[in-house]
Amino acid sequence: MRTAFLSRLVELAEQDERIHLLTGDLGFSVLEPFRDRFPDRYINVGVAEQNMIGVAAGLALTGKKVFTYSIVNFAVTRPLEQIRVDVCYHNLDVTVVAVGGGVPYGTQGYTHHGSEDVAFTRVLPNMAVMVPCDSHEAAWATTRLYQRQGPSYLRLGRGGEPTIHGAPQPDVSGPGWFEFGGTGRVAVLANGPILGECLKAAATLATHGIGVRVVSVPAVSPLPAEPLLSLARACDRLVVVEEHSRIGGLGSAVAEIVSEHPGLPPVKRLGLDSAKIKIIGDQRFLWQANGIDAAGITTAVLSWVAAAPT
């Protein structure tokens, strides 16, 4: 995903000399193609993320389109006030790009877990939030946010994630809603690489006679409300799975919209449990520990269906 983002950014930067890239001294073996191709539009600001966002805002105020790059908590949480005031309040064309969304750096401990970033960014005014599931969606989201011209947050994985979409997503005017087919009265919505687990769970649930529709929703904000409401009207249950705290992310965003429309089905939110932040482990281990791997999702849906049959 990191490489797909960077490749697309280089393509865009070939066409648009306003594009600048700032990094907080991260991006080894990722950012070099941009650095080497556009040295005058690349700044390594050092390990100083508050300043990075302020500088990005200043550049944007002189007409540049700025991308900033770091690991989730250093990209978002450390300079959150600069993002809120300098970028969002002024409605500037700055895209905050973060790697390590979720727990791909799980063995490195909670300092490196990207577990609340979607909540932090989603609440900010003027902010678009994108969480792609694979390299194709990452390239799609990069172009989408480039075209949008405003404050944006692009949450990427660590790199090396499996490709989920069969092909690039060419329609960059779309809302950020990708249906993976399936029939039935249960819908699973997800974003990020955890989507792959949802597809595996859907296959298992089919063998139990439960039909599941799987949707990738990279656009957490603005959330595509129309396709969500259409899907909700056609289903009995909505399950949201994300590699993020159960609080404040995609699950909350879906629940907010669904709760405002009478007669729609209940929403079950699966995600990272804040009671488990001290668990160290690799990504798959932490998915399992939080019940968001394929087995955990399958179990959750089966239990829900058994406890409250429709």
């Binding site: 100083a48 302020g54 500088v55 550049l59 005031v85 300098d86 002024h90």
Partner: protein, 275 residues
């Protein structure tokens, strides 16, 4: 810009008129920060009366110099100066801090010609100014300069020193910081709370060209600002100032970070500022 033709009477008049406007603004709204406005007033008058290349009738002129009031709590004096320079109608000052009016209590850019950046949270302006300065360096020829006014207490913020490091390392010479060093921060004297000294040496160590100046001496400030901004590295004016300058009962008093003058105090202040 040379000091020979510096318009001393116009600058003095601008400072005086702006201070009178600011007095009425904070009195009317019971607002704080008049002391912070008065320590900065002379420097702002020098900037807007002589130093900045600006076109009040064309506030978004791309070739303009930029000014950021990073100590956004001194907004009243900035608004007053901008109105007096013709950026927007002087009548707007009557609605300072008014409901649904443009002039907020901290420097507000939205809908206010001449205010480049909304500020109020300390420690943001120098980074933004640095980004602007870098963005403007590509401009052909005599590229615009970016001036950022900081408070002394604001220099407690780590982000100031992040920006100072990067600006020095990259020798961004069209960036000029001005520290309104009135020696009083929010809860007491700078020397007691978070001593900044040796202050000039800190900036110099970060790669900045340091100029120390009496922030109320218009000729000295104009001379220093004329020297800054094109010396091969970023410049900082450490402007030694007096909080509440020009009003005897406000001068060097922490109280006037917070108080707004009563009717009697207003009359006395007007008299002292006018004389």
């Amino acid at each position: 810009m040379s000091v020979e033709n510096f318009p001393s009477a116009a600058i003095a008049g601008l400072a005086r008129e702006a201070k009178l406007e600011a007095l009425h603004m904070v009195h009317r709204t019971r607002a704080s920060h008049i002391g912070s406005c008065f320590s900065a007033a002379d420097i702002l008058a020098c900037l807007y009366g002589h130093v900045l290349r600006i076109r009040p009738e064309e506030p978004d002129w791309p070739g303009r110099d930029r000014f950021i009031l990073s100590k956004g709590h001194a907004a009243a004096i900035l608004y007053a100066i901008l109105a007096l320079k013709g950026f927007f109608p002087r009548a707007w000052l009557q609605d300072y801090c008014g409901n649904a009016q443009p002039l907020g209590g901290h420097a507000t850019a939205t809908g206010v010609p001449g205010v480049e950046v909304s500020t109020g949270s300390l420690g943001h302006g120098l980074s933004i100014g640095l980004g602007m300065a870098i963005g403007l360096r590509g401009t052909d020829g005599d590229h615009p300069k970016v001036y950022v006014m900081l408070s002394d207490g604001e220099c407690d913020e780590g982000s100031i020193w992040e920006a100072a490091l990067l600006a020095g390392a990259r020798r961004v010479d069209n960036l000029v910081a001005i520290v309104d060093y009135n020696k009083i921060q929010s809860f007491g004297r700078v020397a007691d709370i978070m001593d900044l000294e040796p202050f000039g040496a800190k900036w110099a160590a970060f790669g900045w060209h340091v100029i120390e100046v009496d922030g109320h001496d218009h000729a000295a400030v104009c001379t220093a600002l004329g020297e800054a901004g094109s010396v091969g590295k970023p410049s900082v004016l450490i402007a030694h100032t007096v909080k509440g300058k020009g009003v005897s009962y406000m001068e060097d008093q922490l109280l006037w970070h917070y108080r707004s003058p009563t009717a009697d105090e207003l009359r006395q202040a007007i008299q002292e500022v006018s004389s």
